[in-house]
């Protein structure tokens, strides 16, 4: 029997198709139930309302505005991104995933889904925040790069930790406790860079912050996909 030798290109293609299948499945499930999107968006909008009503436009300092925005985004991420694997565990579909896909494919698929979710949340929260906080001179390009790069790092770390807490008890409270110490570097730099984006006329002078966020994202994706194998396989 002659077996066709798979070339490198078809291997990569198959790998990408599996990743896309994981994303597609999650997007479809999300579209049908709208569980994560609904709960996360409602949470975001509520906390945004709490912050802006309690302050009532009195805060003019860009440093405080940036920190408030990131506190809202952090807790929204904690709510939404932890669900990636918890819902699989609860429905008992984790073993199906194990059968169908390789760990790396599941990790990258879930991470991209989390990334999409986070970007959607940011797209809705940040314009509202800018309007409510009355922020005038904002540098859109720099601001958007900060958001996207931080979202990449956040989603990689949260995907790994979501798989970790899915196998533990008291997940809802455990997840932010585990995630915060690991995410502190992103959090601090993102707050500083957001402050620059809404206060300085030419924030690109601080492009080393973007490089930092990018490096963090790359390291967390590599580390996460390597460690995920140990978490995922029984």
């Amino acid at each position: 029997m002659i077996q066709k030798r798979k070339t490198g290109a078809t291997n990569t293609l198959n790998y990408a198709i599996k990743i896309l299948a994981v994303i597609k499945k999650d997007v479809q499930a999300e579209y049908r139930a709208r569980y994560a999107v609904n709960s996360v968006l409602l949470f975001c909008v509520t906390s945004l309302a709490v912050v802006s009503f309690s302050l009532g436009g009195t805060v003019k300092d860009p440093g405080i505005q940036a920190s408030l925005l990131w506190v809202i985004l952090f807790f929204s991420a904690m709510m939404g991104l932890s669900r990636a694997f918890i819902k699989e565990q609860d429905r008992g579909t984790m073993n199906t995933l194990r059968l169908v896909c390789e760990p790396g494919q599941v990790f990258i698929g879930k991470m991209m889904m989390n990334f999409i979710l986070l970007v959607v949340v940011m797209l809705i929260v940040t314009p509202l925040f800018i309007v409510l906080m009355n922020i005038q001179n904002i540098h859109v390009g720099y601001f958007a790069s900060v958001m996207v790069l931080s979202a990449a790092g956040l989603s990689a770390v949260c995907t790994l930790l979501s798989a970790v807490v899915a196998q533990a008890r008291a997940r809802g409270t455990l997840f932010p406790v585990l995630a915060f110490p690991v995410l502190i570097p992103v959090f601090m730099v993102a707050v500083k860079a957001t402050e620059k984006a809404i206060s300085e006329p030419s924030p690109w002078a601080n492009s080393q912050m973007l490089v930092f966020l990018g490096c963090y994202a790359v390291v967390s994706v590599i580390g996460g996909s390597y460690l995920f194998e140990y978490v995922f396989t029984e």
Partner: protein, 220 residues
């Protein structure tokens, strides 16, 4: 043999105490409060050492899946947590007397607090996974991930917070201005002494923990 080692480290630490309070002079600017360097810095060093050892044992556990390596990782993390608390408290005491407040948002204070949070999260994770094999695996993964992302923290904190920590004042362009010969001697003796004490505590706790797990039916 173990008793001789214990005796030596006991005498050594007694010598460090005497050296710290009688032999060494006080530093020029900081005055008598500078003597905390012989206790605070070694404790902080043990905290970092324990963090590294925990990382190393976690990697070895994931590679070999031998339960005793998980025992080692847990024990060294537990000691690290205690030393981390000690380092935070001694640092806060020094900060009060040198800078006027217990908490100053100094880069070192921020970094040590993050390590403290990592340790606490590690034990939070351990206590909430009932199945032992899973507990070992997941806590090892968390410990490795936290260690891998820690360099970012050390890199980023000085950007955000400015420092009053003595070593930035002492080590001006690599030359030690304040530590004279006797101070440096006591300091390194203390560093070695604390490392001995830590290794001794580590060995004893690892033995106890292994006995406990053997009683629970584990082959460690």
């Amino acid at each position: 043999m173990a008793y001789i080692g214990l005796l030596i480290s006991f005498l050594w630490m007694a010598g460090v105490l005497a050296g710290a309070f009688y032999f060494s002079p006080s530093a020029e600017i900081l005055g008598e409060t500078s003597r905390i360097i012989y206790f605070h810095v070694p404790v902080a060093w043990i905290c970092v050492l324990a963090f590294c050892m925990s990382f190393w044992f976690s990697i070895s556990y994931l590679r070999t899946r031998r339960a005793e390596l998980d025992v080692n990782a847990e024990v060294t993390a537990r000691l690290g947590l205690w030393f981390c608390i000690l380092a935070t408290i001694t640092g806060a005491v020094f900060a009060k007397s040198a800078w006027g407040m217990y908490w100053n948002w100094d880069p070192r204070e921020v970094s040590i607090t993050v390590i403290l949070l990592v340790y606490m999260a590690y034990f939070g994770l351990r206590s909430s996974v009932p199945d032992p094999e899973r507990r070992m695996k997941l806590s090892a993964v968390y410990s490795i991930m936290a260690f891998v992302l820690m360099p970012f923290l050390i890199f980023v904190v000085p950007w955000i917070y400015s420092s009053l920590h003595p070593d930035t004042i002492i080590n001006v362009q690599g030359e030690n201005k304040l530590l004279d010969g006797r101070m440096r001697m006591v300091f390194f003796f203390s560093l070695a002494g604390f490392t001995f004490v830590y290794l001794w505590m580590y060995r004893i706790s690892a033995r106890i923990e292994k006995l406990v797990r053997r009683k629970e039916g584990w082959n460690v």
